[in-house]
């Protein structure tokens, strides 16, 4: 027996001596693996964190102040009436395959993006980009301001690739050739993606050349494993720190916690096509009845959320203060009175991703407490998406919505998406927003629209959440903006 113990311990010692990390690489653990890095099609935050800015770049981007800044376009112009949009392609930018980017590549990429992104197609009025020498331009009968905003910031990213990439018949691209400071050096689905410095990257305007030589993104779905990996030094940075882990981690000197701006909203989207919530009084009653704090803490614990019924995030210029939301101040008695006239169970639909099912259960128990019958349906993501399309099978669904740059990008504000906002006045107001000729005009229109929407309650926003990131305390220069980015970070190991 003793012999075995000695053997085991010596074995353990043998393996504990080897080195943990090579110094030039930064190891990052992400909760989610992007299904594809075709970021024109897929809008996952993890895909953005890996690919947008690192591998691919856009013609224009939005800076911290919400202003449009040039990237791959050396300049842009929008005519005074907003109906003519021009980008000038930057000279001397190389793709990862060595070829030089030109206006043709920019037009093909933007047109493919319009093909796969219906909301952008609508903003473009069905028009496409054309090439004129070194510039690309698009004309429309309506203002293209919102299209410009979308190119800069939409969840489906308008990134530029060589036009040859789009020649294949497949729906998704299979070659990832960009202009960014990093190129994909290794990719093992289910394991990790490694991106390495692109030798011929020429910094322009916005320097990204000081970051680490190699970034490795590991996919670690388990929150506890991510935390333990950060604590043991195996990972230099991790995303989605669990709320329960925050107290312990903030006492650890080796670790820094970063909390960015609000990253998105939780919404209870009501079915306005069939069932109980076709009645606006019922929708208002539900909004009055619920305890928003209860719902948010069911999912997030003690940290990382705020109670706020505004549809847009607090830091956004679109934000409308929720004081004017007549149905966000709790009135249990009134809510109960109206809702209890309904006999059948209220069907609450949610998916088991990101703990959203906990909100569904909290909502159910709150309603049951008031004697209102409920039925909770929790499904995996693919089934949830499918079930949602069937208006006859649910009354309210719960989902998380990542922050959007434009108010009209919230997908529950559409007559085509589940929830089916078919109110004519609301649709007209949203359409006017799409045609706004200046941002000031758009903000003003949204202010009115938000107030109207609060009144007809197409959805209830109990609050906003912010993702908490954990990094080693000697890692400097991490950029936090809808995810974390490392192109100008450095380690003082």
């Amino acid at each position: 027996m003793r012999k075995y113990i000695i053997l085991f311990l010596s074995f353990v010692f043998l393996f504990s001596c080897s080195s943990e990390n090579d110094d030039s690489a930064l190891d990052i653990a992400l909760a989610q693996e992007p299904p594809t890095l075709d970021v024109q099609v897929n809008s996952s935050i993890s895909g953005k964190m890996i690919a947008v800015g690192n591998i691919f770049e856009k013609p224009v981007d939005i800076d911290e102040d919400g202003e449009i800044v040039c990237r791959l376009a050396s300049s842009y112009s929008l005519s005074d009436d907003g109906r003519h949009l021009v980008f000038e392609a930057r000279q001397g930018v190389l793709f990862h395959d060595g070829s030089e980017m030109d206006a043709d590549d920019m037009a093909s990429s933007l047109n493919r993006w319009l093909d796969v992104y219906a909301a952008a197609d609508e903003a473009a009025g069905g028009n496409r980009f054309s090439v004129d020498g070194n510039t690309v331009y698009i004309d429309s009968d309506d203002s293209l301001l919102m299209l410009l905003m979308m190119i800069a910031s939409a969840p489906q990213s308008a990134v530029i690739m060589p036009k040859e990439v789009f020649e294949s018949d497949d729906y998704l691209i299979s070659e990832y050739i960009g202009t960014g400071p990093y190129l994909i050096s290794q990719w093992y689905p289910g394991d990790y993606i490694e991106i390495a410095r692109f030798e011929n990257y020429e910094p322009y305007g916005y320097d990204k050349s000081s970051g680490p030589d190699t970034l490795r993104y590991f996919f670690v779905p388990d929150g506890t494993t991510r935390r333990m990996g950060l604590e043991s030094g195996q990972y230099d940075a991790v995303d989605c720190i669990l709320s329960d882990d925050i107290p312990a981690l903030s006492e650890n000197d080796d670790i820094k916690l970063l909390q960015g701006d609000e990253s998105g909203t939780i919404a209870l989207v009501l079915n306005k096509r069939s069932g109980i919530f076709t009645d606006v009084e019922m929708r208002r009653a539900l909004s009055l009845l619920i305890d928003r704090n209860e719902l948010m803490s069911a999912c997030y614990g003690d940290y990382g959320y705020s109670i706020d019924s505004a549809y847009m995030e607090k830091e956004s210029p679109w934000y409308v203060s929720p004081e004017d939301d007549p149905y966000s101040i709790r009135d249990e008695q009134k809510g109960k009175e109206i809702l209890s006239s309904y006999e059948g169970p209220i069907r609450i639909l949610s998916s088991n991703t990101s703990n959203l099912d906990k909100i569904a259960i909290a909502l159910s128990s709150e309603l049951e407490k008031h004697g209102i019958k409920t039925e909770v349906i929790v499904l995996d993501w693919a089934s949830f998406i499918e079930k949602r399309r069937d208006a006859s099978s649910w009354d309210v669904f719960i989902s998380a919505y990542t922050k959007t740059a434009l108010a009209q990008m919230k997908s529950y504000l559409s007559d085509a998406n589940p929830g089916w906002l078919e109110d004519e006045k609301a649709l007209l107001m949203l359409d006017a927003l799409n045609k706004a000729e200046s941002l000031e005009e758009a903000y003003g229109l949204w202010n009115e629209t938000q107030r109207y929407l609060w009144d007809i309650v197409p959805a209830i926003v109990p609050g906003h959440y912010s993702t908490v990131y954990g990094i080693r305390s000697d890692l400097e220069g991490v950029i936090l903006r809808e995810g974390f980015y490392f192109w100008s970070s450095s380690l003082s190991r």
């Binding site: 027996m1 043998l14 796969v116 043991s232 693919a382 998406n417």
Partner: protein, 301 residues
């Protein structure tokens, strides 16, 4: 054999077909418009009738063209990346399980108090869920002692020691689970062997207890152990989804879970056929080894 592959792949294919939703939910954004979804389905061939898709899949599988997954990755290279992970963990976990269970079982037959300890241990291990066990091991070895990494896989090509380090904890987790079964069954067989007439005879000829345990009790129990090992091995080759998830290992189990969640019938079908082949292969191998260690089987033939 071929019937097995056909039925396995058919079942996987039809289950994923019956499940709600398809891979568009996985690849496209949550708020994808109807026309985007329709265009994706068209391009991926999801609109074609079930039998046409299934027979197309089987034909290209036979030809060795395994195609691309719903997310556009080459299935062959995905599998090539995950098979070594699972094989390496399967074999090392069986090896560790034998290392733990055989000496303990022999000791348990010889000393009563060890026997009690072993019973308790194997019961505890048997009822312990694998993810809990792995968490305990990670806390102990990775966070507290910092000896092994918390998660991730390092291929053999990056160095033997790094490789073994990365698979040690997951293998140990599975090994402890396997060994609980090994100990229960193997110990009983050993005890029966030790009390049998030939052992008594050996005792009377003056052999020591230790010699008896090894020579006359161990030998007849070996075939039983071999069949346990072959079962556990074929089980392990299917990959353990729970352990692979906790340790973020890109093995077959994790691949299957991903394929099912993303409704990727092409990928799931391919992986299932390969798992079925490997299980059949292990049983075939076991049938070959059995006569070598069990003279009784040889005589019956």
């Amino acid at each position: 054999m071929i019937l097995t592959f056909l039925s396995v792949s058919f079942l996987v294919f039809s289950f994923l077909d019956m499940a709600e939703g398809d891979s568009s939910a996985y690849v496209l954004p949550e708020d994808a418009a109807e026309e985007e979804i329709a265009a994706y389905r068209e391009a991926q061939g999801l609109n074609r009738p079930f039998l046409e898709r299934y027979s197309g899949f089987m034909l290209s599988f036979m030809k060795g063209e395994w195609g691309i997954s719903a997310a556009g990755h080459d299935i062959k290279s995905m599998i090539a990346h995950s098979v070594p992970v699972t094989i390496s963990i399967a074999f090392s976990s069986i090896f560790l399980a034998l290392l733990i269970s055989v000496p303990l079982s022999i000791a348990a037959v010889r000393r009563k108090w060890i026997g009690c300890g072993v019973s308790v241990l194997s019961t505890v291990l048997m009822i312990m869920p694998s993810f809990l066990l792995s968490m305990v091991l990670v806390l102990l070895f990775s966070v507290y002692f910092r000896v092994f990494p918390v998660a991730g896989y390092v291929p053999l090509s990056r160095g033997f020691i790094l490789h073994v380090r990365s698979i040690f904890l997951p293998s140990l987790t599975l090994a402890l689970l396997h060994s609980s079964l090994f100990m229960r069954v193997f110990r009983k067989a050993l005890a029966a062997g030790a009390e049998s007439q030939y052992s008594l005879f050996a005792l009377s000829t003056g052999m020591s207890e230790k010699e008896i345990a090894v020579k006359s009790a161990l030998r007849p129990s070996l075939p039983l152990l071999a069949s346990l090992v072959s079962q556990s091995l074929s089980f392990a080759l299917g990959g353990s989804a729970a352990v692979e998830t906790v340790f973020s290992l890109p093995g077959i189990g994790a691949l299957m879970v991903d394929a099912a969640l993303s409704r990727d019938a092409q990928l799931a079908g391919t992986v299932m056929i390969l798992v079925a082949v490997s299980v059949a292969f292990v049983f075939f191998l076991f049938e070959g080894i059995l006569p070598m260690i069990d003279p009784r089987v040889r005589r019956h033939r």
